[in-house]
Symmetry: C2
């Protein structure tokens, strides 16, 4: 393993080259009625349309492409509630590397099915009584498989940072510099990657994290200027964002670029999922809709501004989706 | 009114200029697993992401922009089951022209609500016992409102043709020439527009229409080399495509370019709506999913080919959508 350092723009550009023929250049979507509602210009980076239905493919592919050939034969192992699982499984399938994914037994069914569909072996665990880190470490020790971290690694962060690079490129094509970028934030891999890309390529754009209530570890950590954890009893429909606390590396990047944290309620998220369905015609999962929820609920003032927002994923079970669109 | 002639590439280019700051440049979406499933390269022109949730805004805006200022004050009138209704209402709102839309009382609720939401007056009629053409003609006579035809007019066709122009431009950017383009076909406005654009800009690309079973008037008309009508007792979930027969103008364009017609069943359409939800993360209405249905059900052989397909709209009621994703 290489020495751990913070990723740079050059790392993100290198990741972008690696991903070129494998990842989807996801569109930056604009919707005039949403602009009118927000009173500004809203540009949605729809990573729900990414391969595997979330941005996680980017970081996973970038990581796997840098595993030495001799180590590939022993496979990879990862733990994830679902989007990282699918990203690693799909990337492993491309590289023809065996993959084992440790997933909670209450993960969304679609995420478990899709992960198996990409050819990975899924090991389910009990979220309350077992440690996914320990299970993954055991598998790694037994098989020699390389652990693919979900967010706290420079290769992962650099891969996710390509979302930021593309956003800046796409904004340049339409001749705008966004005043702010909103990022759906769990462990912070996407946030750290985008913050790195933006600091280098669009330094006047402010980066905000958006988290669900009860999982606002990033917001509180940024305010306290040190990493703090979430209450273990917290619950949220945003299954993709239920991380215990910011990563060491990801938080260092967020501190460096002086990010600000926003939060939204599950009700606001559910409304945003329904809004995306009804008005934008996009399928967005709860965790991927927190940024849109922040815009729609006025958590950020968009009036007269250009705001880019990631929609980080679209892997949502039919029952949850039906509930969201029924309640809207 | 100007003399009726077939629209040209120049008309489509002029429409494109008019639409530039008002319509969404919809993405051409590629999904690696769909490519693998089809055995070729599938490029989806997602008009579901267009303003008003369908391509119809393009033709409506292009038409309204050419109504003489003196006539605008008397307003516009249109009849439509929903997508043309929303397109005309939204365009009229931009031009600040009063709009009256004649809609069947069994039109999807979302389409009626959205049309009212754009500020139009909606007049409901009984599809079995009343004639929408007569009601619209009466309104036009009483008020002096200009009738905005749903498909059989060169201004409308030229507006819809901008979908074809963009598809060719977007294919050029990624360095491909599509072997074929599949178009969701009702009255044929989108088809005629795309066929005109393709004939001029990408003459080696073959254009196929796709219709639901029971509403395959275009396929049968192309085979008979003359316009034939559908059986009045036909039913389909594709509410956007339930036109009685091809338009005079639109069919003349389709004949000229020697199009071929394909058909799909409602079951195949429902499966495509669910596939788009589950795998592509796109909300597509039944009528907008017929092209995807043709690909998924093997009605066209995509192996080794590059196929562009329009997803023409995404305005679907929650109940129908839930039924589709539940049955998948």
């Amino acid at each position: 393993m290489t020495k751990i350092t913070l990723p740079t723009l050059a790392d993100i550009e290198a990741a972008s080259k690696r991903l070129q023929t494998h990842a989807v250049l996801t569109p930056l979507i604009e919707n005039p009625p949403l602009n009118e509602k927000a009173g500004g210009r809203i540009l949605l980076k729809a990573e729900s349309l990414q391969r595997t239905g979330s941005f996680k493919f980017r970081g996973a592919y970038n990581f796997l492409s840098q595993i030495e050939p001799a180590a590939r034969i022993n496979g990879v192992v990862a733990y994830s509630s679902g989007n990282h699982a699918q990203g690693v499984a799909a990337a492993a399938q491309i590289f023809d590397i065996p993959a084992t994914i440790v997933m909670p037994s209450d993960a969304p069914l679609m995420k478990v099915e899709n992960t198996r569909g990409y050819g990975a072996e899924v090991v389910l665990y009990d979220r309350v009584n077992e440690s996914r880190e320990e299970i993954a470490a055991e598998i790694s020790q037994l098989t020699g498989a390389t652990l693919v971290p979900p967010y706290d690694h420079p290769w992962t962060i650099a891969g996710q940072g390509t979302v930021g690079l593309e956003t800046v490129d796409q904004c340049e094509i339409i001749g705008v510099v966004p005043d702010a970028v909103l990022v759906c934030c769990g462990g912070g891999g996407l946030t750290a990657g985008i913050a790195t890309a933006l600091a280098a390529r669009s330094p006047n754009t402010k980066v905000y994290t958006v988290e669900p209530d009860g999982f606002d570890d990033t917001r509180r950590s940024l305010e306290a200027d040190t990493r703090v954890a979430n209450d273990k009893s917290s619950v949220s429909i945003c299954d993709a964002l239920l991380t215990p606390m910011p990563g060491e590396l990801t938080f260092a990047v967020m501190q460096q670029h002086k990010l600000t944290g926003l939060t939204v309620s599950d009700t606001e998220v559910c409304h945003a999922v329904a809004y995306a369905w009804r008005h934008l015609k996009l399928v967005v999962e709860p965790g991927g809709a927190v940024t849109l929820a922040a815009i729609l609920s006025g958590k950020i003032d968009c009036r007269g501004k250009t705001i880019a927002a990631t929609l980080s994923g679209g892997n949502v079970d039919a029952a949850v989706f039906r509930d969201c669109i029924r309640s809207s």
